[in-house]
């Protein structure tokens, strides 16, 4: 599904290097967790996967299903199946949530050469997914994310993910700002989407999220490189010992 090879990247404006040779492979259907202390480059990695042009890849490559996506813009990547659930979903005044959802779904369908969704079918899908995520109709009537609470924004991200049916889901600190009930709803939403042809890259600070979204692999990102990989027990070890021990070993 995803192969990141010796990825080096810097902030386009100022040139600060943030990723310093990331190597990571995520197989079809795999849930990979990326953990790491603040400033290790986790969010940067997620933005670069989604194609944000504030960052410049200086070395290495990102292969998605065997092909480099570095030359694709964010919309092209999305249409090919890459989805980023934002740590801080943006409020966009004036853009109605439903208009946005329909525009995005149909833009992706168009890019893939599929027929546009008709309104009744679109409504049916939104209602079904919204109900599972306990998103009420009133929320969907508002402009995109405007006035949503932190938990509502995260649920709206998962709603988008469910509707857009991506193949590679990158989740940037999806647990931040969530109370335990909201966390369960979000995790259930994610787990429902797990399947043999859909992979996840779950970025998080804390082990807590991984109690609910149980990963197949866990990778520690530190100073722009993966310094240790393991299975879900690695997350538990981190929870007990902190990052200090592993960072010490790597050094």
């Amino acid at each position: 599904m995803l192969e990141i090879k010796n990825l080096h990247a810097r902030v386009a404006d100022e040139g600060t290097e943030i990723l310093k040779g990331v190597d990571l492979t995520v197989k079809d259907g795999e849930v990979a967790a990326i953990m790491g202390p603040n400033g290790s480059g986790k969010s940067t990695l997620s933005y670069i996967l989604a194609g944000r042009d504030d960052y410049e890849v200086t070395e290495g490559d990102i292969l998605y299903n065997g092909e480099s996506i570095l030359e694709m813009d964010p919309a092209e990547r999305a249409a090919s199946g890459v989805f980023l659930a934002f740590q801080y979903p943006l409020e966009i005044p004036g853009v109605a949530t439903m208009t946005f959802l329909k525009t995005a779904m149909n833009a992706q369908r168009k890019a893939r050469g599929e027929a546009e969704l008709m309104t009744p079918e679109f409504m049916r899908r939104v209602k079904a997914s919204a109900a599972e995520l306990k998103i009420d109709a009133e929320m969907l009537k508002r402009p995109l994310n405007v006035g949503f609470s932190g938990g509502e924004k995260k649920r709206a991200e998962i709603l988008q993910m469910a509707l857009l049916e991506p193949k590679l889901c990158v989740m940037d600190e999806t647990d931040s700002g969530l109370d335990i009930d909201a966390l369960k709803i979000v995790a259930d939403g994610v787990n429902a989407l797990r399947g043999p042809e859909r992979s996840f890259l779950v970025i998080t600070h804390y082990q807590r999220l991984l109690d609910y979204i149980v990963p197949d692999t866990v990778h520690v990102l530190y100073k722009g490189r993966i310094i240790k990989s393991g299975d879900k027990d690695l997350a538990l070890q981190l929870e007990n010992e902190g990052y200090g021990q592993i960072i010490g070993e790597a050094a």
Binding site: A75, L90, I92, G94, A107, Q160
Partner: protein
């Protein structure tokens, strides 16, 4: 009597006076105005109220050539009558070139008149002792009309005033809305252009507890010049809502001057200015709060693919107007390096217990918003169009007006956005 010429007239001023003499009706009424126009000339950048719209210079580019007058005469003769459907179906249409022909809805009266706006003083204290818009309006012999809506009357459909249709159209309309009444007026400013400006001066008096929505829909042709002025007095506990759309014209100045006439009045002004090519569009407003407990919100959103935009907004709060709550904002999206926008918000406050604020922003499309939309698969061009539309559509939404009218305005905006992208 000897007249002292203070300075030589520019060719444009001479041409404008000749045009005024050659066109229009009501000789006697406009004689004094023509003389004043000859004497005062056009305002220029050293007149504060016209600093960003140097009319002498800008009109000079239009009227500086000898053939301008001939072109105008030819145009007048050849111009076919414009057939327009009303902005909102079911509206009462009043052609201000022939107000006597309009049939008023129940509870309202419309009569042709000859009372012109007083150009001897300006509602904008930064202007000269003569008011330029009113002066041009009077000198060109504006058709005058008076509309009255009785007290406690709710008009079912908008009254559409066609004030600036056609190349050479000048109207002066007085509208009064009785206490406790509710009415919507749509001022259509459309039609082709001529070197000389069309003009529309309106006076709106809103009775106590009444609610009036006034829409100015300016979509003149790309060669047209237009000078508009709306003067409003808002009664106690009355609401005045304005929507101003500028989506046309080559040289446009629209002024709105509002004053409160009692406690508890509310002013809601929203506007959208859409500019491209070499357009020059100026919106100048003054809000005078003269009574306690009045509120005003004023927001203009501008989208520039080119051209020069101007916003001058003045909020004045008198000493006795305690508890005034007034906010003003002017936000500009610059989508091209060819466009520029000048914003001059001003507050003049003499009361000590008020809330007043203003803000002006100018920038490009928010890159974070764009990335978010694109990350969901919406291609760049479509995502940008969505964001631009959202930016201006909000102005219509915030007015909370009748759905049909809101949709008609949004459709006008969409038409411009589609044409200009």
């Amino acid at each position: 009597m000897s007249v002292t010429e203070l300075r030589p007239r520019t060719p444009a001023e001479t041409a404008l006076v000749s045009l005024a003499e050659a066109t229009g009706s009501g000789e006697d009424a406009r004689r004094a105005a023509i003389e004043a126009l000859r004497r005062e000339g056009l305002p220029h950048r050293r007149i504060e109220a016209w600093h960003y719209t140097d009319l002498r210079n800008l009109m000079g580019r239009r009227l500086g050539k000898d053939q301008a007058i001939e072109a105008l005469a030819a145009k007048e003769a050849g111009e076919a009558e414009t057939v327009l459907s009303p902005l909102v179906a079911g509206s009462t249409v009043v052609d201000l070139d022939a107000p006597e022909r309009a049939s008023a809805p129940e509870g309202a009266t419309i009569v042709a008149g000859d009372e012109l706006a007083d150009w001897h003083e300006s509602p904008n204290h930064l202007d000269r002792p003569v008011d330029t818009v009113r002066l041009v309006n009077a000198a060109f012999g504006a058709r005058a009309a008076t509309l009255a809506v009785a007290a406690k009357t709710e008009l079912a459909a908008p009254i559409e005033l066609r004030s600036g249709i056609g190349a050479q159209s000048h109207s002066a309309v007085r509208v009064s809305v009785g206490d406790g009444s509710k009415a919507t007026f749509v001022e259509r400013v459309e039609g082709g252009g001529s070197p000389a400006p069309s003009s529309a001066v309106s006076h709106l008096s809103i009775g106590d507890g009444a609610e009036v929505l006034w829409v100015i829909d300016q979509t003149k042709g790309e060669a047209a010049a237009h000078l508009g002025q709306l003067n409003v007095s808002v009664g106690a506990d009355a609401t005045f809502k304005l929507f101003l759309l500028n989506a046309g014209g080559q040289l446009v100045r629209q002024e709105v001057h509002a004053v409160t006439r009692g406690e508890g009045s509310e002013i809601v002004m929203r506007g959208v200015n859409l500019l491209e090519k070499d357009q020059h569009v100026d919106v100048t407003t003054t809000l005078r709060h003269t009574h306690p407990n009045t509120t005003a919100t004023e927001t203009f959103r501008n989208v520039l693919m080119g051209g020069h935009g101007v916003f001058q907004g003045m909020i004045k709060v008198a000493r006795e107007a305690q508890k005034t709550d007034a906010k003003m904002a002017c936000n500009t999206l610059l989508l091209s390096e060819d466009g520029d926008f000048s914003a001059k918000p001003e507050l003049e406050i003499f009361a000590d217990d008020v809330q007043c604020g203003h803000g002006a922003t100018a920038g490009e499309i928010n890159q974070d918003h764009l990335f978010y939309l694109m990350s969901r698969g919406i291609p760049a061009a479509q995502a940008k169009a969505l964001l631009v539309k959202a930016f201006v559509d909000e102005m219509v939404e915030e007015l909370e007006i009748d759905e049909a009218l809101g949709e008609a305005l949004t459709a006008k905006i969409d038409a411009w956005l589609e044409k200009s992208h």
